[in-house]
Symmetry: C2
Subunit: 649 residues, 2 copies
């Protein structure tokens, strides 16, 4: 057996060959879709992550839309009268990029560099021609499509707006706002397609939050609704033909699809049986063996079909040859989220008042151990963050201590007003903002949480903490549960750091006080969390070689500072750098400034924030940190120049 | 005709008399409800504002719940097995306070001091015994009730949770999230009552965003639904009796009610005919004549009923005698929102790309002139802020310049993630956060917007501006439309200031630069907006008398500062005060600190922020500013003591 494997691409010429062939139109669509499936699998494998399951479930529909239904390719992606398509869920971007490539709308370099700097984003971004809207955060698409459809009407532009939603996505309230307003506003040039593959992140929709009778729901909101097999081109074509006849209301297609369609062992719901009921192919790249198996299955199917049509076999090209079994950081390094999940189980044994709430990210948020240990105190709320947060408010009013989990970008932002209202009730709730910060950068700015500190910071009764390693995570959770008198927000990195941050032996986790990780006298850098503290330590090591002694401080308290401790910790260092894993505004730096300006000894020191300027880049951790000049090298360089360099972002 | 009028109260003893009478139970409920109506009208008149329309429409239901249906009074408002009631809309608080008073649960001093410091809040607050949840921001109630109902189930506590919603409120997406999750989570101890009075802020629901077939919608979400006349006690009683029999799903009552019920000229939809289709009694207090007319009608009806039952007439007591025709500040002083509305019409004549979006606050946001002038470019989106913001995103992607309006507390917070996603698309949208700041303080913390600057501030491409008078408002809007290259957030006070702020003659509205309103040398105070600049000027005048020369600067640019201008503007003043109409974190002060710390001349000056510490108080403008030590007197006092005093808040 070979020690390497090839990642191959179906080149554009092959798509042109098939598109030009005189064959049955549905057979052609099937071939094109399966060739896009092969490219989707290849690019996700190359990227190391990406949403395969829903790319594969929606691919037949997108292929049909662009090749048969819509005028977009013919008119061009900037023409006012074009049909507009975009995916509201956005997770299916790898599949969509494959379709754009197959049409000659996306270059090969872009396609193969999925989730890489300068390549394509993990979720859609309008900087790529053919992408009509940014998405990836769920539930916004129909509303946005409404705006586009209204614009067409006002301008007298032709064309329809097609928007694809997920099924789990229908748990978001904004969907129902938009269904209600679209009907009232008589928006008739809009077609919604629900990719009803019936599995959300990693469990069946009916087990997370059942959608009930979806056709009935859409009809109750006044929409014209059809339902068909989302993998049957003939059925799809006839549905869209009927949609054209309906001119008095918005239209929705509930498309029954199969998650992972086209690769047998990825297809739901069958594949769930082999994996304890958890779907394995939602967002990660397949291991080497699964990749080779899946790719072979796809190409065999394509070649069999080509043979049947008496056409030559597929001519793929190799874009990369890789060694097998590369070790991944995330499989070996310490992860704070794992420590959090374990600590949660431990503390919940004592504290019967703890209730854990999840919004369909239980695996990513480390909640499965709690779910299995305390099923009666675990509330799965589906992708409905606002409802989850207000329900937590009700639980807190009745004496429970709710611990509310989601990715920071969703929890802090979408449920912000609900968090505020709960906080005004003076109960105590712990909010855990997972996936905090810029890394991993592959999923892109819909997932990178860089505003969460600022979004919690103006609450008068909330303490914000980001721990840097497993020990501190456990201490932070205990502090939040046992010591805190008010609401807490814990910010947790989802990615491991290449180095486990080592805390001082005698470290006491005490409100407002951080810890010195490395002594130094020429300047001090203050950071938080495993990712940035690693870069700070790397910078210190690089500077040490050059004879510059940089002190490194871990400051997990992001909005509480003990002024006496800070003065002492900074000491005689003449320059203070704050390394944010956050936007420049509203993070730790601004919080510290309030203490620094009040201190006669501190306010005369040079003060510099290093933060994620502009929108976060999409790429590997290294690429992204480098781009923002926040990697150890760049930080060392900026400090040695006196912190004066503006980052490129 | 008398020059004065009396505000009277139906005292508790009268409620006890009626409750103890041996009369038909429905006749008794009607009497109790109408007596509560009288007290509601009296307290709203005394407060000068309050939501009469929906208090009156929901009062019969609340009266029935507390007197007949629920065990809450019997068991006590802290008993675990009690039935729990709260209003999700919260606007109907005056009516609810009247019911609590009638049951002996709320003291007279509290009742008559509606919207006053130390009295009752404009929207519900759990600090008052009997109030189960904070509300007033719409759409959260069913979710919160869910949390309470789950808590009852986990703890094995008896009792049901009753939650009242409005009808316009059903436009909020969170409602549908909660209907969906409640069914899936099998929450059976919950009863939702929709106060279906069919008029939202000031227009019929069917004209804002039609709800369609509401029963069908609730049923499509799996709920058990009944519908009845919400003013018919017998029907209500039998519905709740049937609800008790339904043990496998959550239950909803669509109660057909009449907005303003009980005062003939306030009753919708009839009263709309006399007022150009706009409902007049949603949130303001009636004028003196209407008050006397309405109060007489109510007491006559009550007395007629008492007479029929052979009971003595009502014994009301006078709580205040007032002069008629008091002049109100809001009727005479300059309002920036009026200037905004006029400027919008002017600029839209030139700029055909402007589209104005509203979320059912068109009158309060000064949008009616635009709506009437450009009906095709005005989008009424109902109470669905998230949908509105994403639709604006779609319009911007298609080349329009959307101007999005709502109260700041709703727009900046509830639609935060949608604003972020739009901003990542690098289009330009203008968000107008109305009702910015702490004044008016009567509606309470669900409406006072004190976090909006911080909620927009971490966006990399958004300029935040608060103008201080009509001239600056026009200049700000023009700058946003014509000059700005990125997104803008305009923050507008809804209340007038007792003084019109006068800008310097040669004032040039230029990004990052404010203006000096009063020269001085001993210290400088930097503020923004009409309300706080008035207090700053008042403080300067008071200090002047004492020989302390305070410079007053207007700084409308809340997140952009021209460093050279700031150094020059502060000049030799040794102390810098920032007067925030915002929470202490994330406002203008933090923004300025970033410039100040980088300036060798500025960073050594004493720096102090005066901000709204803690949650904002509810009261009159004077009471509230005084409470937070942000009125001119307190500001002068704090400055003369070197800014060292902590506010009480």
């Amino acid at each position: 057996m070979s020690n390497t494997y090839d990642i191959k691409l179906v080149p554009l010429a092959e798509f042109q060959r098939v598109r030009g062939a005189e064959i049955d139109k549905y057979a052609k669509l099937q071939l094109l879709a399966d060739m896009c499936r092969a490219n989707t699998l290849a690019t996700v494998k190359r990227a190391g992550s990406g949403h395969l399951g829903s790319s594969l479930s929606s691919l037949d529909i997108v292929t049909l839309l662009y090749n048969l239904e819509m005028n977009t390719v013919k008119l061009g992606v900037k023409h006012p009268d074009r049909d507009i398509y975009f995916s509201s869920k956005g997770h299916d971007a790898p599949g969509f990029y494959a379709v754009l490539y197959s049409l000659g709308l996306l270059g090969e370099e872009k396609l193969i560099n999925l989730r890489r700097l300068g390549g394509t984003h993990g979720h859609p971004d309008v900087s790529i021609p053919g992408i009509e809207a940014n998405s990836g955060s769920l539930g916004m698409g129909i509303s946005k499509a409404k705006g586009m459809a209204i614009a067409k009407t006002i301008n007298g532009w032709k064309g329809n707006v097609f928007v694809m939603t997920g099924d789990g996505e229908l748990q978001e309230g904004q969907i129902w706002e938009s269904l209600q307003t679209a009907m009232h506003q008589k928006i008739t040039n809009i077609n919604v397609i629900v990719d009803y593959n019936k599995i959300q992140t990693d469990k069946p929709v009916k087990n997370i939050i059942d959608l009930g009778d979806l056709e009935n729901k859409f009809e109750a909101f006044g929409w014209y609704v059809e339902r068909c097999d989302g993998h049957n081109f003939a059925e799809l074509e006839s549905v869209f033909a009927r949609f054209k006849m309906i001119k008095d209301r918005p239209k929705a297609l509930i498309a029954d699809t199969i998650k992972g369609k086209g690769i047998s062992f990825m297809e739901g719901p069958e594949s769930l049986k082999k994996s304890s009921g958890l779907y394995q192919w939602h967002s990660g790249a397949p291991d080497d063996e699964s990749f080779e198996l899946g790719y072979a299955e796809l190409t065999e199917k394509i070649n069999a079909q080509l043979a049947k049509l008496k056409m030559p076999s597929l001519a793929s090209k190799t874009i990369e040859t890789r060694e097998k079994g590369r070790v991944k950081l995330k499989d070996v390094a310490e992860k704070v989220v794992t420590a959090y999940g374990e600590a949660l189980v431990e503390i919940a044994k004592e504290r019967k008042d703890i209730i854990v709430l999840d919004a369909d990210l239980a695996s990513d948020c480390g909640l499965r151990p709690f779910e299995y240990a305390f099923p009666d105190r675990f509330i799965e709320n589906g992708i409905a963050e606002q409802d989850m947060v207000s329900a937590a408010g009700g639980l807190a009013l009745q004496g429970f201590l709710p611990i509310v989990n989601s990715f920071g970008v969703f929890l802090a932002s979408r449920a912000n007003e609900q968090i505020y209202t709960n906080a005004t009730e003076r109960t105590k709730i712990i909010y855990v903002c997972h996936y905090a910060g810029v890394i991993p950068a592959g999923p892109g700015k819909s997932h990178q949480s860089l505003r969460d500190i600022s979004l919690f910071n103006a609450l008068p009764n909330c303490t914000i903490i980001e721990p840097c390693n497993a020990i501190e995570t456990k201490a932070a959770l205990e502090w939040c549960v046992i010591e805190a008198k008010e609401n807490c927000m814990m910010r947790l990195a989802i990615s491991p750091s290449p180095r486990t941050i080592t805390l001082p032996d005698n470290y006491d986790f005490s409100c407002g006080k951080g810890s010195i990780l490395k002594h130094g006298k020429d300047a001090v850098i203050i950071g938080y969390g495993p990712v940035m503290l690693n870069e700070a330590l790397k910078a210190a090591e690089l500077l040490e070689v050059k004879g510059f002694s940089l002190k490194v401080i871990n400051m997990p308290w992001l909005n509480k500072t003990d002024a006496v401790w800070l003065e002492k910790a900074i000491g005689n260092c003449p320059a203070v750098y704050v390394l944010e894993n956050h936007a420049p505004r509203g993070g730790l730096g601004d919080s510290l400034l309030n203490v620094i300006i009040a201190s006669k000894t501190l306010r005369t020191k040079q003060f510099t924030k290093f933060a994620i300027e502009g929108y976060p880049a999409c790429g590997t951790p290294f690429e992204t940190l480098k781009y923002h000049k926040l990697d150890g090298d760049s930080v060392a360089d900026r400090i040695s120049r006196g912190g004066k360099i503006k980052p490129a972002g």
